[in-house]
């Protein structure tokens, strides 16, 4: 098969697999949250509610698409797509097994982090284009939050990079053949905690969901969205969380490493990503929401200096342990 055909088919497969996973992850989260709250969760559509995501998707597709009169139409209509593209693009560099991925760039992790920060453009467009005061406040919060938490997120993600000595994601995964980075003494655990906290914050999940903040801002930047546009925003948000969960599993849990034959690799990777995702979900359903000024203080006064010190400390350890330096 010529190379360009492969480059067309591989993204198509990955994109559809991601869409399927994202759809069903909503069910996983709802079931998990229901267990935490001593409920049953979705149960009616299909056995154990297994068809619920499909029913939801059909419902959202059939909803009327309302555009506010005062909205800035081009910006308003474009925002969900601008939001969705970076959320899907982050999967491009993730290798799901040795040699199995869309593009194994030599700057894979930089690509991931850079693209993942671009979701803010879509968020702000949605908040601004809706011409709604709640949405506008939410958009302003979004800028605050993403800027403050992307830095600790990047610093925490760079710790495994230093330990592995490569920016290529498959190299980082391969470097954990002996020891998963989450078990690396002290540094690994601290970096993982920082990674989880900044993931929760950078993905706008509760307790940092001040963008959505439905008890203050009703639904934040997507308050005016309905039907399929709402679904696309929702899809993008979940895709982003799943992407970050895959990254977490790759950076700290050795990606596809696990017992069993080689074809089990992607399955192990998916399971580990789901563990990271459930960890984020667990945090989400246990905390009350933090206020915007407290959130900024937490990032700039605590998390950012801490991750920076951790990064420098890791660098020192790596240099110290490298023979011949």
């Amino acid at each position: 098969m010529p190379g360009w055909v492969v480059s067309l088919i591989a993204p198509f497969i990955v994109l559809n697999a991601i869409l399927g996973i994202v759809t069903y992850v909503t069910l996983l989260e709802r079931k998990f949250a229901a267990r935490m709250q001593s409920r049953v969760g979705p149960y009616r559509v299909g056995p154990h509610g297994l068809l619920q995501p499909i029913a939801d998707a059909i419902k959202l597709m059939m909803k009327e698409d309302v555009v506010p009169d005062a909205a800035d139409r081009p910006v308003y209509n474009l925002a969900p797509i601008v939001f969705l593209i970076p959320c899907m693009l982050i999967f491009a560099t993730i290798p799901f097994a040795p040699g199995l991925g869309v593009a194994d760039l030599n700057i894979g992790i930089l690509f991931f982090l850079a693209v993942s920060a671009m979701e803010i453009v879509g968020l702000f467009m949605a908040g601004w284009g809706s011409n709604n005061k709640y949405a506008l406040l939410s958009a302003m919060r979004a800028v605050n939050q993403v800027i403050s938490y992307d830095l600790p997120f990047i610093f925490a993600a760079l710790v495994p990079v230093l330990l592995a000595g490569s920016l290529r994601l498959s190299d980082i995964a391969a470097a954990q053949a002996g020891l998963w980075f989450v078990f690396y003494p002290v540094i690994g655990q601290l970096a993982f905690v920082a990674f989880i906290v900044s993931t929760v914050a950078a993905e706008n999940r509760a307790p940092f969901d001040i963008l959505e903040a439905e008890s203050e801002l009703v639904a934040g930047f997507r308050v005016e969205y309905s039907g399929m546009k709402f679904a696309i925003i929702q899809l993008g948000e979940y895709a982003h969380v799943i992407g970050a969960s895959f990254l977490g599993a790759l950076l700290f849990f050795g990606a596809w490493a696990g017992p069993g034959p080689e074809w089990m690799g992607p399955i192990w990777f998916l399971l580990k990503a789901m563990v990271v995702f459930l960890l984020v979900t667990w945090v989400r359903w246990s905390f009350v929401r933090i206020r915007v000024d407290q959130m900024l203080a937490l990032s700039w006064k605590a998390l950012l200096p801490a991750t920076l010190v951790l990064l420098i400390g890791t660098a020192v350890v790596v240099v110290w342990r490298t023979p011949g330096v």
Binding site: A33, M36, Q37, S38, R39, K133, Y134, L137, M140, R141, A206, P207, D209, I210, E212, A213, E214, S215, E216, L217, V218, R284, W285, S286, F287, V288, R289, I290, R291, V292, D293, Q294
Partner: protein, 387 residues
């Protein structure tokens, strides 16, 4: 020199930043019913608030003039529908005070049991919705909310076994109560009380060991002792500001002097102090229920048994003001009787109405997110505010 502003509109001095007027309510996820606040914002900070009520006005006081003393208690429960027992209680007490009607001891104890269980149910709903305001329906708040609703169900089950209704009861009657305890109710009630007592410890640990909960509540919405008294707060709000005022203690009614309980007082005046007061009240109410079940005397449940028609109760000419300590504070009923089967005039003193008046005084200067936290800590029920 009064510190209380003449209108509900409060706005801080202009600092030069651009201001945005944002309408919050009457239809808003955390409006607790139909409260409308027109906020003036400088970025995230609230600099002005205009609080508006009246969206749930149902002419309750006029309605009371058209209903007999036997009919109205069932309707009185619709003012404060979250703690329905207390409004009935205030109304029948006012009628009894005018008519100098004796209430048998057993009926008094049954009234206390119902009122205290109602307080627990109401506080459970408050805790759940307050955490929902702060934590969001898609976050940790929903978890606390669902736990609290689960426990509240057990109390509603007890009321259902007692009265047949789960939300609006009509349990209190002039001269006593309408129903005696069904067989086995006492044991179920004891089990439920013990169960909820254990669960409340769990919630307290869950919330107070949570740093996010603490930073959201401590130092937020501080009400000074002077302001609390000047605005006329009552219930957990005034006790959270360091005033030791509980009608069950200062003006005992319905045999409350027979029971041994503590009145919690916190001096912080912030949302956390109000939360602490209510958490202690949970346990004290459960203690009172236990004592009342223990000491429950035998005897008739009403001094006016066998009601043959709704117009049978006639109250002689006179007027009286009766007050009870509801879940939200002092619930008062001013009644003027003219000798007929219906009152001549009736006026409610809603605890939520008076408590809500504190909002314009404490909200300016806080962030948008604090508005919902403060409003939740006031625990208004709009059926009682607008009546």
């Amino acid at each position: 020199m009064s510190t209380v502003a003449p209108s509900t509109r409060v706005e801080l001095d202009y600092t030069g930043s651009e201001r945005l007027t944002m309408n919050m309510g009457p239809q808003h996820p955390s409006a607790h019913g139909v409260f409308r606040a027109i906020l003036t914002l400088e970025g995230e900070e609230v600099v002005g608030i205009d609080a508006m009520i009246g969206y749930l006005h149902r002419c309750h006081e006029k309605l009371a003039e058209t209903l007999t003393y036997a009919q109205y208690p069932s309707i009185a429960s619709k003012t404060d529908y979250v703690a329905a027992m207390t409004s009935e209680f205030a109304y029948v007490r006012a009628a009894e005070m005018i008519g100098k009607i004796e209430v048998p001891k057993r009926a008094q104890y049954l009234r206390v049991i119902a009122a205290e269980l109602q307080r627990v149910a109401s506080h459970l709903l408050w805790l759940g919705t307050w955490c929902l305001d702060m934590g969001g329906a898609l976050g940790g708040g929903a978890t606390v909310f669902l736990y609290c609703i689960r426990e509240r169900e057990f109390i509603l089950d007890l009321f259902e076994a007692l009265v047949g209704a789960r939300l609006l009861y009509g349990f209190y009657q002039v001269g006593g109560v309408r129903y005696d305890l069904p067989p086995g109710w006492t044991d179920t009630c004891r089990e439920t009380v013990d169960f909820i007592d254990r669960r409340i410890d769990e919630y307290q640990r869950m919330l107070e060991e949570n740093p996010f909960f603490l930073v959201r509540t401590q130092g937020v919405g501080v009400v000074s002792r002077e302001l609390a008294q000047e605005v006329g707060l009552s219930g957990p709000l005034v006790r959270g500001s360091g005033v030791n005022y509980d009608l069950r203690r200062t003006d005992p009614y319905s045999s409350y002097e027979d029971f041994d309980f503590r009145v919690p007082v916190e001096t912080g005046g912030d949302c956390f102090a109000r939360y602490r007061v209510r958490m202690v009240e949970f346990r004290e109410s459960l203690t009172i229920v236990r004592q009342a079940l223990e000491k429950l005397p035998e005897g008739p449940i009403s001094s006016r048994p066998g009601l043959k028609s709704v117009a049978q109760i006639r109250i002689p000419k006179g007027e009286a003001y009766a007050r009870v300590e509801g879940a939200r504070g002092e619930v008062g009923c001013y009644l003027i009787a003219d000798g007929g089967p219906k009152p001549y005039r009736m006026k409610w003193r809603g605890a939520s109405f008076s408590n809500l008046a504190i909002l314009p005084h404490i909200i300016p200067g806080h962030k948008v997110a604090d508005v919902v936290a403060i409003m939740g800590s006031v625990d208004p029920v709009f059926g009682e505010v607008d009546r």
